[in-house]
């Protein structure tokens, strides 16, 4: 973390009798991040995102605790009274993030799925794929080219089903994209959340000397 990194605050929120630990950092439009199996830990990527967003990082919700995890997480986020928010789900929490976005289609401005494990070519989920087709939220799916958990071929399933989906391969990253290539990860996530589908229009300069 940089010395001038924004302060990090740890808090708890309750919904449906479950307590969720979360940390907050940064200023700007809210970005809720549902962590993956590794649990809650702040990474250099969070620090990069916190320069642009009010980042709220939730511990990985345990699917065993409630039959309606997405509904409970939706209520927990609602209890924070943040207004419309961006949502990001990592690995196994990407499915929960999709569930939240389907419930809160008006409240979720944009959705990012980092290395989602929910659908794989060898483990298709017809019901979820049907519901992806109903998800009108602009959605960015990120896959590492070296991911040994989720093969690249999974990406095209999301791209086919999502009406406003974008698939981006992060070169040289494994399953933990934001840890393997934090700058590359944060650059595309920030650009997507700021401009949503218009992020396909480059705003990088090629000017060398004016």
């Amino acid at each position: 973390m940089r010395d001038d990194a924004p302060a990090v605050v740890e808090r708890w929120i309750e919904a449906d009798g479950l307590r969720f630990r979360y940390v907050e950092t940064g200023r700007g439009a809210p970005l809720i991040h549902l962590c993956g199996e590794g649990g809650l830990r702040l990474t250099p990527a969070h620090e990069l995102l916190s320069r642009h967003f009010h980042v709220v990082v939730f511990d990985a919700p345990d699917p065993g605790q409630t039959p309606e995890l997405a509904a409970t997480v939706t209520r927990a986020i609602g209890a924070l009274s943040l207004g419309p928010f961006n949502l990001m789900g990592t690995s196994s929490s990407a499915g929960t993030a999709v569930g939240v976005a389907l419930r809160e289609s008006a409240g979720v401005t944009a959705l990012v799925l980092e290395a989602p494990t929910t659908i794989r070519p060898e483990a298709r989920d017809a019901e979820l794929e049907r519901r992806l087709a109903e998800l009108t939220t602009p959605t960015l799916v990120l896959l590492g080219t070296e991911d040994t958990v989720v093969p690249s071929a999974a990406g095209r399933i999301y791209k086919e089903k999502l009406p406003a989906g974008h698939l981006v391969f992060v070169y040289g990253a494994g399953h933990a994209i934001s840890i393997d290539r934090p700058e590359a990860f944060a650059e595309v996530v920030v650009d997507f959340l700021e401009r949503r589908e218009a992020f396909v229009i480059s705003r990088a300069t090629t000017l060398i000397n004016p």
């Binding site: 690249s152 391969f169 070169y171 040289g172 396909v200």
Partner: protein, 357 residues
Amino acid sequence: MKVSFFETVRYASPHALPPEWPVPSGSYDPDAGAAAYRAMLERLQYVEELGFDWVSVSEHHYSPRILTPSPILSAAFIAAHLKRMTLALLGPIVPHSNPVRVAEELAMLDTMAQGRLVVGLLRGTTNEALTYDLNPAEARERTDEGMELILRAWTEPQPFGWQGRHFQYRTVSIWPRPLQQPHPPTFALGTSRESCEFAARHRLGCGVSYGPFEVMARATRYYREQCARHGWQPTADQILYRANMLVAETDEEAHALLRQQSSSAPFVMRAAVREAMTTLDARNVAGEARAPVTGALPTTFIGSPDTVVEQVRRCREVVGAGVLDLSLHPPGSNELAPLMRALELFGTKVLPRIREI
């Protein structure tokens, strides 16, 4: 053994050229250039009649010896004039290129040429980096990433973005895709550990060039080991060896011709640049450091047809190569007549005997 003719579009200057690289482009003679391309077509029609399997082209910049800065353009032009031979595009120099553009153009060429395309992707030698102001220190990384992106652009059925280290695209979705599916036969060209590993990981062929059989065999052995690690075995057709061949009626005649060859490379850079470049030219054979090439490229196959046939047999045994990519230019001459004589001798006395090797 498959046999490929390495077409270099040899340019015969009507006047002496300055010896130093870069040779001023003002000393280029447009009529001599046009004659070189006309001669190329005549020669390749003969090469096709002789029964060569492939014609190969390469990418070289600012060179009065090899007029092919754009190998894709050469290959497209040649493909339009030949009926049967496969075009072996051994080099687009990947780090110089927009990989998406390379993927598009190769897919287009494969389709226009009705699937008569073989591709070799490579880093290129360090001197080539000077032409497009590329930092040689980044060339290897750009090559690996560019090659991976080319393969993905050919095969990924849905539009995708690429968040790379050296390349970034938000939308890639090429049209046309290659005619040969999933993509044309492709080689990673080079002896380096990186190149062999890339080829093995992506189930590509491996192409080596010019070095002695035993040294090149270290690279092809390493490549085969890596392929085994990735659970597959390359065929003989997936190991390519490029070399100079000097074939004459007798061994004595061939060696006498070789003695006419200058030992230094033509059009050398000034010493200060050459030395700085040499320190940057990090090469290896299967991970072992390899000295930079400074003089003229060696002639691996030399002698009478009988001698050369035996050398090809050894190449197959030692290197494991199933494809030979041959430059047949007799040294010491820029004239085309000796090349045509060498071609005839090779085509009638050598080619029919190395098919079954």
